[in-house]
């Protein structure tokens, strides 16, 4: 994998944010540099889902082996999307280049590359739109910011639309709500028409389509991994939860990103889910067919998103559950909140979700019939249904990272903070302008959490890491909590690089550590096998 050397933090923080004075961006060629790009999609992964123009190709080669009619494909592709997406259509027309978005992008802040300014990222596509779809662009060309569609342009698109994590931070600041995520989503759709995906997205998509999850975990292996968690939980608490799989007639279907099952520290979050559900005696089931909450189809095309997402409702229907509970994930919740029911609804076979423990009706999910686990837990705590000992987390000083998608594609701010502050005693916010709706991306979202683009990821994650470092120095923060599977994986690497000694945790890992389970043995360690809270002495300052 990554034998590409990542520059040291010192080297990487030599960043200039002043673009060249005289040389314009249109005459600046794109350089695709190792460490800042992801490998191209392998043909087998595109063929697995029936995508066109699958072929072996290398982004570093001069010849990308584009199909003969590539230009027509792109132009017709744009035409079709203009009529399908008013967002795209308007965003192509109304930008005034005021520059408010320019320094809002984490990739620009971390790289200084002017083509990473959101406005310019969109101009890469807009310039072609003007040339092909506006009269002024056809006549006046460069004078009105129009340029020809060439192979170089396609390469530039591929490079920069896979340097955007669709985090929407720029769209918060745009006076017209222009959302670069929309532009990137469309641009990636166009690139996919030419077979130009990245393999880190195409692979998980192919896996998810056939095997039910991004990581390609087959059903028996999925259960095996769970068994391993159960062993761990039993060792720590003396209690062995008994989760079920693909069980018909359960009240609730639980779906979470497969990353939680697969790698630390997400696994601890997953153990947290199991412990909480056990304590509640929840009548729920996992599914191996719908074993993925995330949706890399969303990073590919609207159609692929729908194809992968369809499994959630299909499985809920097959199993005859009443409603769906969803785990901690970022883009999963953007999809569930803003797309799912429109794509794959209506859902007349499910019921409006009601918490079997508190009786609370989740009216805000009356149509999708899917509840966020953090909403569910917040409601439990509010109604006093959980016995919690937050002092077990006393060795931690925690800050909270708002995931882009739950922040700006949902508005999920108070629920996780309420839960967090109920299960741990030391909590500090990062500075204003870096949290809530202005939160910074982990730098690895939207399918960019590969190994070969590590330099890019460390650059993109720099603003987030820098804010963490600030509270690390100021308040002694040593744990970064979040509610996103990609965050758990990506932020761990990011912290190691920019803010060593800060760990990363999912929210329900902290919940489970604080949770007092009926009949449990006295716990001596947390889920990571570390000695419990009060036992270390150094953390007594306030």
């Amino acid at each position: 994998m990554a034998d590409i050397k990542v520059p040291s933090p010192d080297e990487l923080s030599q960043i200039k944010h002043s673009p060249p004075l005289l040389k314009g961006w249109m005459s600046t060629p794109t350089v695709i540099k190792p460490g800042t790009y992801c490998y191209g999609a392998q043909p087998k992964n595109l063929e697995a889902v029936g995508f066109p123009n699958a072929r072996p190709w290398n982004p570093l080669d001069a010849d990308w082996k584009l199909p003969d009619n590539w230009k027509t494909i792109i132009i017709e592709g744009i035409r079709e999307r203009i009529s399908r997406f008013r967002s795209f259509h308007i965003f192509m027309d109304i930008c005034v280049r005021c520059g408010a978005c320019a320094d809002k992008c984490h990739f620009f802040i971390g790289s200084g590359d002017p083509k990473n300014m959101p406005v310019l990222r969109a101009e890469l596509l807009r310039s072609v739109y003007r040339r092909e779809f506006t009269t002024a662009g056809k006549i006046f060309r460069k004078m009105v910011g129009a340029r020809d569609l060439t192979e170089e342009v396609v390469k530039e698109w591929w490079s920069y639309f896979f340097q955007c994590t669709e985090c929407r931070r720029c769209s918060v600041f745009c006076p017209y709500g222009i959302d670069t995520a929309e532009v990137t989503i469309i641009a990636r759709e166009l690139l996919n028409l030419l077979g130009l995906n990245i393999d880190w997205i195409a692979g998980p998509v192919a896996n998810c389509f056939r095997k039910g999850n991004h990581l390609g975990i087959e059903p028996h292996a999925f259960k095996d991994m769970m068994d391993f968690f159960l062993d761990e939980i039993e060792g720590i608490t003396g209690i062995r939860p008994e989760p079920t799989f693909n069980r018909k007639g359960a009240e609730i279907l639980f779906i979470t990103p497969s990353g939680d099952v697969f790698a630390d520290p997400g696994t601890f979050t997953c153990m947290g889910y199991l412990m909480l559900f056990h304590q509640l005696g929840l009548d729920y089931t996992w599914s191996t067919y719908a074993s993925e909450g995330g949706n890399f189809g969303f990073f590919t095309s609207h159609e692929m998103m729908k194809r992968l997402n369809s499994k959630m409702y299909a499985e809920a229907k097959r199993l005859g559950v009443k409603w769906i509970l969803g785990g901690e994930c970022g883009h999963m919740w953007r999809v569930v909140n803003q797309y799912m029911e429109t794509m794959n609804g209506p859902v007349d076979f499910l019921e409006e979700p009601v918490s079997p423990i508190t009786g609370t009706r989740f009216e805000n999910a009356s149509v999708t019939k899917m509840v966020h686990l953090v909403e569910f837990t917040a409601d439990l705590i509010r109604n006093g249904k959980l016995k919690l000992d937050p002092s077990r987390n006393d060795h931690l000083t925690v800050t909270f990272h708002d995931s882009c998608n739950t922040a700006r594609g949902m508005g999920f701010f108070e629920e996780p903070r309420y839960v967090l502050q109920s299960v741990c005693n030391n909590f500090f916010e990062m500075p204003e302008g870096t949290i809530r709706e202005q939160t910074f991306c982990c730098g690895s979202g939207s399918g960019l959490n590969a190994g070969e683009n590590m330099e890019l990821r460390m650059r993109g994650g720099f603003p987030r890491a820098n804010a963490v470092k600030y509270v690390q120095e100021k308040h002694g923060v040593n744990m970064l909590a979040n509610i996103c599977a990609i965050d758990r994986a990506a932020l761990s690497t990011l912290m190691e690089y920019w803010a060593p000694e800060v760990g990363v945790t999912g929210l329900h890992e902290l919940v489970a550590n604080a949770l007092i389970i009926d009949g449990e043995i006295e716990r001596t360690t947390n889920l990571r096998g570390e000695p419990l809270g009060g036992e270390t002495e150094e953390e007594t300052e306030e």
């Binding site: 008013r86 308007i90 109304i94 429109t342 949902m410």
Partner: protein
């Protein structure tokens, strides 16, 4: 194309445009063309263009509800939602749009990033873009409304009221004494200053300089030219105001007349305005209409409890459970996972 050639190109274009009527008057005596035909043509282009643009946009579908949420969602009853920044109903959207359109809410949020040694990044509130944008748009609106004086007889009360407010430097307002400047309108000066600042920031802020196109400088220069010719006419090189009103009223009542001897400066002013109107629908200036249709702002974040329909939603190829079980049945049975067909 770099910023210097962009500026020069736009500047020369505006200069040529402004002086076209000068030659038209001096050389060919084309008062009727510049006083009647071109203004009508410009207005027609403006109206047809803007309406056409809005129609084109409205023909594009809105498949998904994708508001950018900038506040707490509506969820559990004891969590206070932010009804404006994250609207869950039409009323909330209305409030959000009101703030957006009248106060430029999103722009008000603007910050500037400071990258220091350390490295340490900080973000500070940046108000100048917001302030200049607000002043620019409002002063432009006031100037436009003031000009209704020329197109109406009698002049409506709100126009005269606005004028006296605008001219408070002359007459004073409330406790403030007037400076007794001759009919000094604040709006024109502010418009000039704000447009001037908007131009300057394009040149001195490196990132903005880099993204600016000739089509960003052009409308600014054109507006500066309009404001300058207007101010010149009003305060220095007087033109025949009675004649101007006669012409304007004629246009407004569709009985065009061309009074003689208004002065060429007026035609330069009028022609620049015509250029702006005609240019408007085919340029970035259509943001005026676009902002009202922007899906990330005008939609409520209520997709989990109010159904949204995608007009072009089509069936897609999925991998069914049966296909899945077919492939993994043995492994599932062995692992004790229930299957449909043993």
């Amino acid at each position: 194309m770099n910023f210097i050639s962009g500026i020069i190109l736009s500047f020369i274009t505006v200069l040529v445009l402004v002086f076209i009527p000068f030659f038209g008057m001096q050389v060919a005596n084309l008062q009727f063309v510049f006083g009647v035909i071109i203004p009508y043509a410009a207005i027609v282009l403006f109206l047809v263009g803007v309406v056409g643009r809005l129609l084109l946009w409205s023909f594009s579908a809105v498949p998904f509800r994708i508001p950018t949420t900038a506040g707490q969602q509506k969820s559990l009853p004891w969590i206070k939602p932010n009804k404006i920044e994250n609207p869950s109903s039409a009323a909330g959207v209305f409030g959000r749009m009101l703030l957006e359109i009248l106060l430029f809410r999103s722009l008000f949020r603007n910050s500037t990033m400071e990258f220091r040694e350390g490295p340490r990044v900080t973000y500070e509130w940046e108000k100048w873009l917001w302030l200049s944008a607000i002043l620019f748009h409002y002063s432009f609106a006031v100037v436009l409304i003031r000009h209704l004086r020329f197109f109406t007889q009698p002049v409506p009360a709100f126009v005269t009221m606005l004028e006296s407010l605008d001219a408070f430097m002359q007459t004073g307002i409330g406790p403030l004494p007037g400076l007794m400047l001759p009919g000094m309108y604040l709006s024109g000066i502010i418009l000039l200053a704000a447009a001037g600042y908007l131009f300057l920031r394009r040149v001195y802020i490196p990132t903005v300089r880099y993204i600016s196109l000739p089509t960003d400088y052009f409308p600014l220069f054109l507006i500066l030219a309009i404001a300058t010719t207007g101010i010149l006419m009003r305060y220095l090189l007087k033109v025949d105001v009675v004649g101007v009103k006669e012409l304007a009223l004629g246009l407004a009542t569709f009985h065009p007349v061309v009074p003689q001897g208004i002065g060429v400066l007026f035609y330069m002013h009028l022609f620049s305005v015509c250029c702006l109107f005609a240019y408007f629908p085919f340029s970035k200036l259509v943001h005026l209409g676009g902002v009202f249709l922007s899906p990330t702002r005008i939609m409520a974040n209520n997709n989990r409890f109010v159904r949204h329909v995608n007009p072009w939603n089509y069936p897609v190829k999925v991998h069914t459970y049966d296909e899945y079980e077919e492939e993994f049945r043995e492994k599932m049975v062995e692992a004790g996972i229930p299957v449909e067909k043993e």
